[in-house]
Every structure is written in C-alpha cells, then in structure tokens.
Symmetry: C2
Subunit: 99 residues, 2 copies
C-alpha cells in the first residue's frame, strides 16, 4: 500500500500522462494539452485569475528549453510553485488563528 506521499507523487505522474498522450510527443504537453490539463485539473485557480492570456504566460514560463512543449520536469516546477503558494496561504491562516 503506497504511503500518502507516494500516492501524491504517483498522482502527479498519472495526471501529466493523462494529458500528454493526446497528440504529438506523448511524453510532452503541447499548448492545447496544457490548456486542457489546467482547465480540468486547476479549474478554480484558472477561474480566479482574470487574465485571458494566463495559459500563454504559464506556457512561456514553463517552456524553459523553448521547444513549444512542456515536459514533465517543467510541469513539476509549476506544481511545486503552486503548492508552495498554497502552503504559504495555509500557514498565514494558521498563524492568524493562533494569535
């Protein structure tokens, strides 16, 4: 039985490959696949951002090797950054409550 942490790591890999396999290189996200992933998996986050160009900007930020696709290493950077932001928010709420 995988631990909670192993389950989370496995989920990151599974989610990525659920979308990367649709078109082109099956180990990379095209812009369309990234948009599909973000819309389905980070709906609330995307809707809270009013910027219609958000997916474009995320794509440009993530695509560090400029091959117009996002590989798993680049994807993990996005997930890590969003998780850190969520944790910062969580810790701020905790600290406010304990005052």
């Amino acid at each position: 039985m995988p631990s909670k942490l192993e389950g989370a790591m496995d989920a990151l890999i599974t989610v990525f490959h659920n979308y990367s396999g649709s078109e082109g290189d099956k180990y990379k996200l095209s812009k369309g696949e990234l948009k599909e992933l973000l819309n389905a998996e980070l709906t609330d986050f995307l809707m809270s951002q009013k910027d219609p160009m958000l997916v474009e900007k995320i794509m440009n930020d993530l695509d560090s090797n400029k091959d117009n696709e996002v590989d798993f290493n680049e994807f993990v950077v996005l997930v890590a950054a969003l998780t850190v932001a969520c944790n910062d928010f969580f810790q701020e709420q905790q600290k406010k409550r304990s005052k």
Copy 2:
C-alpha cells in the same frame, strides 16, 4: 470535489505538516522529524538505498539556508526531484515496451 492534481498538492502540504508540528518550529522539519517522515512515507525508497548516512545527506542538500531545519519550499524540492526520477524510470519502461 478537488481534482486529482489538487488532491496531490493538498497531500504534499498535509504530509509535511503531519511531521513538522512535532517539535520546535511547527512550520519546519527538524532532522528528527525529517527522518520520521522519510521512514514512514518513503520506506521503500529509503530501504533501497544502502547508505546509513542518507538522511544526513538529504538534510544537508535540502537545508539550503543552513538553519538546520527543512521548510516547505526546501521539502518540495526533494519531492519534485524524486517524482522526476520516478517519471524518468516510468518513461524508460514505457519506451522499452513500445519497441
């Protein structure tokens, strides 16, 4: 209902705080807390490594600001690196199978 990706991100935060709250700064992992987390959450990974000093080395690598503790940002770097390694292994297996 959170998505699979949101669930994984939430799990990373939850696991970290399950262990960081035991002693000292409740938002950071002491060496003892890190050891407990690794033993419980990454048992197979730890056992596959024969190096008794592994936790020490991971601690030194993660503790980028040298405060002898691991904060969430430093923890996410470990999880990202391990997840990328797992994905690389997964993709290699996939490519072998499709030959």
